[in-house]
Point group: C2
Chain length 366, copies 2
DNA sequence: ATTAGCACTGTGCAAAGCCGAGTGCTAATT
DNA sequence: AATTAGCACTCGGCTTTGCACAGTGCTAAT
């Protein structure tokens, strides 16, 4: 399919899309000749553009307007035409500043990443933590609070923890919480999350017998915690940036996107389907009607072979994909390397020394 | 000031504001006579409205239009004119359904509360957790993970917990974490958060001596955790509802509000200044330029004498204050009683039986 | 004090007209 | 065979004009 296109057609298509991404106005044949890049006349370009339209890469909003890219056009652009965007030194400085703030806490990192992304790209940034639900439970901790309350902490092997306050009907003491902790660790710790289903939990509950009334709500909590990522793990930044693009002055479009932003769980679902590298969903490609008209560019963050989150942006289809992709790649790479446990790194340089404790690489690309 | 107004003027003012809140259109003298409530002619109403305008309660968008309320007008309305809104049984059912889901977890409750509020009122809901930073540390829990990592959990007396992964340079074992837990509980647990300052922590650190390298990062973490509420504790729901109001079709207004929604910390600041009961900020009253044009209605959530969060809505000045106030009052009351520890309640009725734990009275205004 | 009547005013809307950008096609050129 | 100049045509966007309408303030009558 792509090979049908002569190199001249490709050049023209690229020029049209580049211009449209920048201006937002339909691009006419004359505009292209004025840029000094083409030696041919506007009439020739018109013919080529007519061909590109017939092939489905371009379209006209109305008869007497220039051309704008179709979704297929954008797709071809991001796959074959687009050239890498070289982040400017100022942009790199921003990104590195964020990565240097070695918080080693994924939550904080993602929060900052969102802010930087929004500022840098001028689109709405999305940062999601722990979409996977894959992984195993490292261990439980049960902390006595008072005779009717204790705190249940579930530690996962992706360096995250889920906490729950549990209120009991019957009075408890520290012995109970300790016993409970031992029990949970014995029966559930080490298990893969996908194995912790409701039936399994009920089975465990039965086989225990003692602590009767105590165990039941805990099981429910565990089940809930294991379930899909809770909404609070989705962050947005720069929602107001959307308004800067004429494609969202139509308030119905905007409403759809804002609605999507509200339905965080749905978004999490979208983000969890995606490749290893940067994923680009253009318009209807993402399969959600509310996001026709919008594009979603994101990348999963993988630490130690496990998906621990994702960062991305959402904006109009007319998006500066090149810049966005560069930024996302750089940022996610930085986060990944910052999150990689010290013990893994230690294999390379025996000791990095000085700052003591919770340090982190934070890489500087040249 | 208020007493200058004859009861007829008050009635007319109320009628104008009620009508305007409902329709969003400037209200003319004739429209008021058509509602069957007034026995007087439109000319008389015109005269009265002219007076009300002179007094600053009403204004005209332009010469040949009806009147709309000024901020002063709204203020007078909410203070003296507005009558209690009786929640319909359907609405009560929604609210109760949320309150019944006895999650006893403030986080989840607030999350749900936001959803319900947004749906019920049709404005954008805000839910904030733990704005105060006041409170005391109940206890610490230190959980061993592997020889270079442990999990630090700080339990606060407002039923919240903060977790941190800590990575150590020197290898540790379960004995170390246990000792650490004892130490932290001995020195810091029970303290009021406001007492846990950096100097104090450094002093503790010194007086310990042992665990040297281990303690230092922990102190830093504790200090961070104690600090101002992190952004992730602010939730929004129904952001798209804003678009349904003509006052936000002007995208610059909308941009300002969305920007505000982005700057969560600023909002938290606003919400922390407020009275015991429902606080109503109309337009410029809130002192933030970005929210001129918008109103903020919220109420702090107080458990055990401590502020643990707040719920509210943000929308145009032309807001159905009556309904919003009722909903907020009911919901916050419900949350407060759901969050009150069992032990406190037991003082009153020895046993309420069945639903166990967290039920709510909920008042019905006639 | 109230009200009927009237002149006045500014908005919103629709119709009309013009401008200009951009196209497709044809015919001439290389 | 590919390119280009030229031209007629189309259609959206902008401004202008005009009109209808809603609502007012004022005056004079009750």
């Amino acid at each position: 399919m792509e090979y049908e296109l002569s190199s001249r057609k490709r050049a023209i298509l690229k020029a049209v899309i580049d211009a449209y991404i920048e201006s937002g106005e339909p691009v006419g044949s004359k505009a292209l000749t004025q840029g000094q890049q083409f030696e041919i006349s506007s009439a020739t370009i018109r013919n080529e553009m007519a061909d590109l339209e017939a092939l489905g890469y371009l379209e006209q909003p109305h008869t007497s307007a220039g051309r704008i890219p179709t979704e297929l056009g954008y797709r071809f652009y991001v796959d074959c035409l687009m050239q890498d965007y070289a982040l400017s030194s100022g942009e790199l400085a921003q990104l590195n500043a964020m990565l240097k703030a070695k918080t080693a806490e994924l939550d904080k990192m993602l929060q900052n990443a969102g802010k930087i992304m929004a500022n840098l790209t001028n689109y709405t940034a999305i940062a999601v933590k722990q979409q996977g639900g894959a992984g195993t439970v490292t261990r439980f901790s049960v902390t006595f609070i008072d005779e009717h309350d204790f705190l249940l902490v579930m530690v996962l092997d992706d360096r995250s923890a889920v906490t729950r306050f549990v209120r009991t009907e019957t009075a408890i003491d520290e012995n109970v919480t300790e016993a409970l902790e031992r029990t949970l660790n014995a029966f559930i710790a080490g298990k893969d999350l996908s194995l912790i289903t409701l039936p399994y939990l009920m089975q465990v509950e039965k086989s225990l017998g003692s602590y009767g009334a105590l165990i039941s709500p805990i099981m429910k909590f565990i089940y809930e915690a294991v379930g899909s990522a809770s909404e609070k793990d989705v962050h947005f930044d720069g929602v107001d940036k959307l308004l800067e693009y004429p494609e969202f002055t139509d308030s119905s479009k905007l409403k759809e996107v804002l609605g999507m932003i509200d339905r965080k769980s749905e978004l999490v679902g979208l983000l969890s389907g995606g490749e290893e590298d940067v994923t680009i969903c253009i318009g209807r490609e993402n399969g959600v009607e509310a996001l026709a008209g919008s594009s979603l560019v994101f990348k999963k963050i993988v630490v130690d072979g496990k998906v621990v989150g994702a960062v991305g942006v959402i904006g109009p289809c007319r998006m500066d994909y090149s810049k966005v992709v560069s930024a996302i790649r750089y940022l996610s790479g930085g986060i990944e390397s910052a999150m990689t446990p010290v013990s893994d790194k230690r294999l390379a340089p025996p000791d990095a020394g000085k700052t003591g404790g919770n340090t982190t690489g934070g890489k500087d690309d040249p």
